[in-house]
Assembly symmetry: C2
Homo-oligomer: 444 residues x 2
């Protein structure tokens, strides 16, 4: 069998609808927008992420011969459809909020304008990519805010939802402000700093804990971080102190110790004392073990002497809100604005733009969602990023995105920086958009 | 740059630990076991899944030249390590519970016996694959039990955590008893039945709802399922009735309608009446829209005339429990049993086996976890599935796994079939294992 491609990573109905559109020559320009309907229970904002992967997908979109063969064998598709699929490339325009932008419910963060069959067929994967990284970046921001400047490391790969999730969670958390990841492939693919310590198994595989510390230090001398909770945390800290002179004589410093269980604040205080008394004042303490933003905030608040935090599963799975209530909706077809009116799921019609005003303190002051061709005071958040299937300009580097995201977080009002739900941010619908909705409803 | 491979999809510490093991010739056989520490809040059992992907990963494991180049450039690895990595293949044995087996906390579902560096390096990806599919299968079972025989379809790709998650969630839910998926690539890759309906955008792109129904029916005549909630559900059902004779004259039957919003039970009753009155008694009703096992159970309990359910996001993300508290722990190295004693995270040492007894009613009667070389009454759950890096026998087909899983669910006692937490299932630690743990603790 010929190889199957990412183009098949879609819902079957996208392909049968495309067949119907093609059969009826409904190939006029469609406008679809991606937005999130509402905030999860304890969230105050979202951070946009995943655009780079969406644009790569669109730029390279095509069905392989293996895809076409498989589709032909289903008996569902006509020869005309299969030929059209074989030739199909994405030739549309994309407007989007840059990755790292903060946004709020009902604000479109991506707008695709493309011939209807194309815009439909790419729906599923575009949503899949944007939902996930936006969800993770939005979650990771909370740990960044809670850590109050202390570095955070992504340790989430083992419990992320498959390989791509682990890879893209490392990317999304890094752009949201994490210092790096344990994920080697993410480091290689996205030029993200990688971090590693040691596992309990390493200690267990040795007959003696001190010997295990010696061996891992010699094998990874540039970044020695010793895991000290396998048997007895404080006893292991004493062993580290006893071993340090021998390592020093070999030119190896103990950069850090890692705590992974028990009362982390209490262990950190005791271990800090042991290390300081033992002349290891430079040795840092890394805490890990089922951490999330709430535990990070509590540990920072307790003034426990923890220097760095590893956050894993809770962040990469966005455990308190493992999906966004996101949608990709047709807002205009062939110049005719439209909208869905399903109960509880109505949308605003037409191509839209979002304007953001800053308050006198330089913090977010309020957003307005309006029709795309109206200009309002403030900063327009959606920019053109793809024209006729090609990126409009070179995409920002991950460092640039990360800097942009940090600047965005600095604009958050204090109330919205808290981990618990605050009064909602002021997002208004412009009169022009209200009028368009009424007009659409009259015509349907 | 040469291509990077799945072998890099691991935590950095696996590779630095491997370097230390290799440097010390610590290449004796290690035994690692994968298990889950505890049940999520509302769960009563787990279903094992993902073994086939784990075995494929192990069978094909190797670092690409691109991987080696990248690792060399980090400066962390010695030439000797890089050469060892270049030659590294997985040559170990694997014992596992077959996919579809039900299991409980602390029962190992996978045991890897391999030279220590190999068993360590594969840890992260093995966990990543087993955690995810086991989590989804365990979640999907709940909808299967709640649906009480009515077919379920996976619609979760768009909000699954990346592409691999969508693909493997389709597989895991199918083996747990779902009827199929909307995910085309999953259908092609795993020979899973695919299902598709139509989207609201399709209706909106047309000026007239009836015309939209006509067009999609003509484009997908073998499986016409019309989405009727875009504007007014009952009005659309009347349009379906009015259109049906025209479609019938073209040889096209309306197989179903789909409800996606509002009070699904109420809409289903009204729509059923409209369809029946209109001579469409054969037309089925499919319900979708943020469904999970609780909503499925309530709809089935209400005796709403819904024939099939599409369950998406809640299932593919396992929204109430988006990760398992799973672990992959060293239990024996070079013939010496060992265990971790970290606070709250202690494990049972040594290679283990699980024996299952059935009660007189043919339902699960109790499990015992013991050392691997003890034989107890009941059925041993772990079997050898890989020998020296090769599968022991041809793996079961997905249909065989699905049948096995259905037989396993049939053995569940009624209390454990409920969606809410029941009294815990009886899992005992055999005396031989207790004694081994005491002996290990004395020797550490």
């Amino acid at each position: 069998m010929n190889a199957l491609s990412e183009a098949l990573l879609t819902d079957l109905y996208e392909l049968t609808m495309a067949q119907a559109y093609l059969a009826r020559d409904m190939t006029g320009d469609a406008v679809f927008e991606f937005f999130v309907r509402k905030l999860p229970a304890r969230r105050n904002f979202f951070m946009a992420a995943g655009l780079d992967q969406v644009l790569s997908y669109l730029e390279t979109f095509h069905f392989s011969e293996g895809d076409i063969d498989w589709l032909a064998n289903t008996g569902t598709f006509t020869p005309a459809t299969l030929n059209a699929f074989r030739a199909m490339r994405f030739t549309g325009d994309v407007h989007a909020m840059p990755e790292g932008t903060l946004f709020f419910p009902h604000e479109p963060i991506l707008r695709i304008t493309a011939p209807l069959p194309q815009a439909q067929v790419v729906e599923t994967r575009v949503m899949n990519l944007l939902n996930f990284q936006t969800m993770v970046a939005s979650k990771a921001c909370r740990s960044v805010l809670a850590a109050d400047g202390k570095p955070l490391i992504d340790f989430g790969l083992r419990r992320s939802h498959g390989g791509e999730a682990g890879l893209l969670a490392a990317r999304a958390s890094y752009l949201a402000g994490f210092a790096g990841t344990s994920n080697v492939l993410a480091g290689a693919r996205f030029a993200i700093p990688t971090y590693g310590t040691m596992a309990h198994s390493f200690v267990q595989a040795h007959l003696d804990e001190t010997e295990a510390f010696l061996h891992i230090a010699q094998a990874h001398p540039r970044n020695v971080v010793l895991l000290i909770d396998t048997y007895d945390t404080e006893a292991a800290a004493e062993k580290v102190v006893a071993l340090a002179p021998r390592l020093k004589s070999q030119g190896i410093a103990v950069h850090g110790v890692r705590l992974d269980s028990g009362d982390l604040a209490d262990h950190a205080r005791k271990v800090r004392q042991i290390l300081d008394r033992g002349g290891l004042a430079e040795t840092t303490i890394l805490a890990s073990g089922n951490l999330d933003e709430d535990r990070v905030e509590a540990l920072v608040g307790s003034e426990a002497p923890i220097d760095r935090f590893a956050v894993g599963t809770a962040m990469t799975t966005s455990a308190d809100a493992p999906y966004l209530d996101c949608a990709y909706k047709l807002q205009d077809y062939a110049g005719r604005p439209c909208r869905k009116r399903s109960e509880g799921k109505a949308t605003w019609p037409g191509s839209k733009q979002v304007y953001r005003r800053l308050g006198p303190d330089g913090r977010l002051g309020g957003d307005t969602i309006t029709v795309a061709n109206e200009t309002l005071p403030g900063r327009p958040l959606l920019r053109q990023v793809m024209q006729r299937g090609h990126r409009s300009a070179s995409s920002p580097s991950i460092q640039e995105i990360r800097d942009y995201a940090q600047a965005a977080l600095a604009e958050l009002p204090d109330a919205l920086r808290r981990l618990d739900r605050a009064a909602p941010y002021d997002v208004r619908i412009a009169e022009a958009l209200e009028q368009l909705a009424q007009q659409v409803d009259r015509n349907t």
